[in-house]
Amino acid sequence: MEHPSELSVAETRAWERPVVTVPVLVCLSLVGGQLPSFSASANLYTLGTGGALIWLGLGNRVPRRPAPRRLGAGAVWWVLPVAVFGVFEGVTFVLAVGDEFPTFSRLADPLLEDELVRSAAWFAWLAAFWGLVRR
């Protein structure tokens, strides 16, 4: 497997520019936002879009941005938000007392029932996924 930094390509193909990718992601998100939770269509759509992005990301089909060779000591700051989130998610999950002390998922579920919020969440997920594919 070639190293990611060796795969980095400076030139950008037309279909990889934001003017193309953003509308495509918006359309995919609007479709995803219409699919209800626990439905077979939502499962298939999530698996299909995610699978396609992984297929693109694991091959040499999309040029990647150069990755840093090392992280400075400042990277340790990222432990703080991860630890706070991890502690609350862990404790709420282990105690499992439902709405009294809810997990992040349980808090997010009612918000994601709204189609507009669901579409926005779909867009955030797909845009971040595309960002990972390009890295």
């Binding site: 626990f38 995610g50 992005l53 694991l58 700051w77 990222w78 706070v84 998922s105 996924f129 890295r135």
Partner: protein
């Protein structure tokens, strides 16, 4: 009371994510952005297998399925 604590805790975590990312994007910052941290993790390979890349893609795929499909 406990519900408010949980909501406050998660909002604090999200605010900390935003604050560290903001600090990372300041000119001359020594803090790497979240994208740089992810890119660094994705460089990890075991032999010919891009373990970091597969792991991060898998995690993100699962996260989307968890929140958007169920």
């Amino acid at each position: 009371m406990m519900r408010a604590l949980a909501i406050g805790g998660f909002l604090t975590a999200l605010a900390l994510f935003a604050a560290v990312e903001w600090a990372a994007r300041r000119p001359g910052s020594r803090i790497p952005s979240l994208a740089d941290v992810c890119a660094y993790v994705m460089r990890y390979e075991v032999g010919p297998v891009p373990v970091g890349r597969i792991g991060l893609f898998g995690f993100w795929w699962w996260l989307g399925w968890h929140f958007l499909a169920r």
